[in-house]
Amino acid sequence: MDILRFITAGSVDDGKSTLIGRLLYDTNQIYIDQLEAIESSGRVNEDGQVDLSLLTDGLKAEREQGITIDVAYKYFSTPKRKFIIADAPGHIQYTRNMVTGASNSNLSIILVDARNGVQEQTRRHSIISSLLGIPHLVICINKMDLVGFDENVYNQIVEDYKQFAASKLAAKDITFIPISALRGDNVVDRSENMPWYEGPNLLEHLEKVPVSNDFNLDDARFPVQYVIRPHTHEHHDYRGYAGKIISGTYSKGDKITVLPSGQTSTIKSVELGGKELEEAFAPMSVVLQLEDDVDISRGDVIVKQEENLDVSKEFEALVCWMNNKPLRAGAKLLLRHNSTETRAVVRQIQYKVDVNSLDNIMDADQVQLNDICRVQIKTATPLLLDKYENNRANGGFILIDETSFTTVGAGMVESITHESELNYMI
């Protein structure tokens, strides 16, 4: 049994809440007291059944304003998998929330209303999922009951979407499923109304989609979080580097380099919970001991010598801006990349990205809340970066306001200028 983390994007009208309610209800994750709470609120749908969308209803603060402020996390499991749903509101002003929910997801469920077909919102949610590097997309053509379960309607929408996807999306794995979330067709049970559809129902697909390959096991990256030094008689000389393998694999005997210092050594042991492991791999949290006494502290990264990696202070990235105050060129911010925090300056805003079309908007001296833009960044401390498209775990970073300390931006590295290249330029 493993874990699939997925995001559902859509607005109230798409039937997103109903779909989540249906998944939870039909997999028996809803408890009597939770149903009672809904029943006692007196809201039922036209069939006199409990309105499943209320299962995902949020906070008082949200109900008062009739909006969803935030990403909510929901959980369910089947004998095959544990599922973590990031339920993000889908209106354009909530790009920020969708980006947040998408950052940790392996799969994105995008709802299309069968009556309306591919809309601006469909494209926006697909493009954001793609920009955030989500490998699997599921396009649920919902409300099939309202178009008479018509195969032609479904085929036309699939055709339209494929045409859009071919030119705009990086995701390789796109699956289409005709459903009715309200009536339960093809969600957990096979639909008797659509015998022409021969693919899996939604839950079957969620249970089967392969996710173990989504971890990058090629590029070994170990950001040190904490140094364990017991100073006890028994462990007098013990020095363990605690962290999470965010990508790649590590074994005893591996030749390693510590960045940014460039010191080298060999792995003496890989440990978890006091036990030695033959090999550890992403996303395990372990302790590494080295053969040599090297100076390592939090924020350093342990990599393999054979990869011959280099740090950098200058790079270009896509940034989703998440603050009410606009971003301007020249802004000084804190940048957190894994366990490193450094000061950074946004040297140039190159263009904004229209999240509905993926077109570049060149005239972009100011970036507003929920905008996605391409920027040039310079940091005070050198970082070991990967391009986001090659390594999600090491290509993302957050930007923090220097005075309020709130998180104001999320960045994805697109190109890197290495220190060695800078030297050549001089």
Binding site: R96, Q225, M284
Partner: protein, 302 residues
Amino acid sequence: MNKRYLDYLDQLEAEAIHIMREVAGQFQKPALLFSGGKDSITLVRLAEKAFRPGKFPFPLVHIDTGHNFPEAIQYRDELAERLGEKLIVRNVEDTIKKQNLSEPTGRYASRNGLQTYTLLESIEEFGFDCCIGGARRDEEKARAKERIFSVRDEFGQWDPKRQRPELWNTYNGRISLGENVRAFPISNWTELDVWNYIKREEIVLPNIYFTHERECLIRDGKLMATSDFIYRDPEDEIVTRKIRFRTVGDMTCTAAVESVAYDIDTVIAEIIESKISERGATRIDDKLSETAMEDRKKGGYF
């Protein structure tokens, strides 16, 4: 099967260890809030995995209402002793005297809500800048929207509108003077995940988690353990039943469930069969209003 396959419990464990180490790396004076319940017992095991053979970079802190199950208190003391870790206990009783608070009265009288005062007092006394807690997002809808690093103002208040976006596995623990953070390493675990982990790790729990005969009174259809601390009506029906506790909190607001589950396996089977949620079955404090948890969190509760 791929030999580099990580089971769901291993993945949850790896995530929780990573969060604990981020707390240790980002804060000057963290603490782990320990209640003696299964969730905080799980946190302690995760801390062992994160920091051994070193010592924990934080003390265990228990905010004691004085109305706890004696079994849980005994377990707490023995655990701290066995681990060789520092345990700090602060009593709600003392806060009541010091701050001249009124002891709650009436049918639902509980010191549970007063824990917030003692917690904030302790945060101030020791200068804790981050408190690790065992809250889970599956427990309650207000908790479903909680961050893993949750920033609180100097009154400990949670403001859902001021929450920081939390992306990838990058946690922003930067705070201004006076603010503090609550960190929740097992946010993504469900009740069943916790039990399956306890089983896998062979963790010993206080015996009140398993079936035993106990004298209870029936309040609003729920079984409450009789004690000196609980409000009694003359007409309260007193019964003796075979029960266990699904959550272990303050005796005045934690209800029991009828059960014959005598070990971890039978408890797990019972939870899978259960039709009532964990908090719904056992917490009187959430039933008082539909937004009880949301309101308490805004006031500085967990």
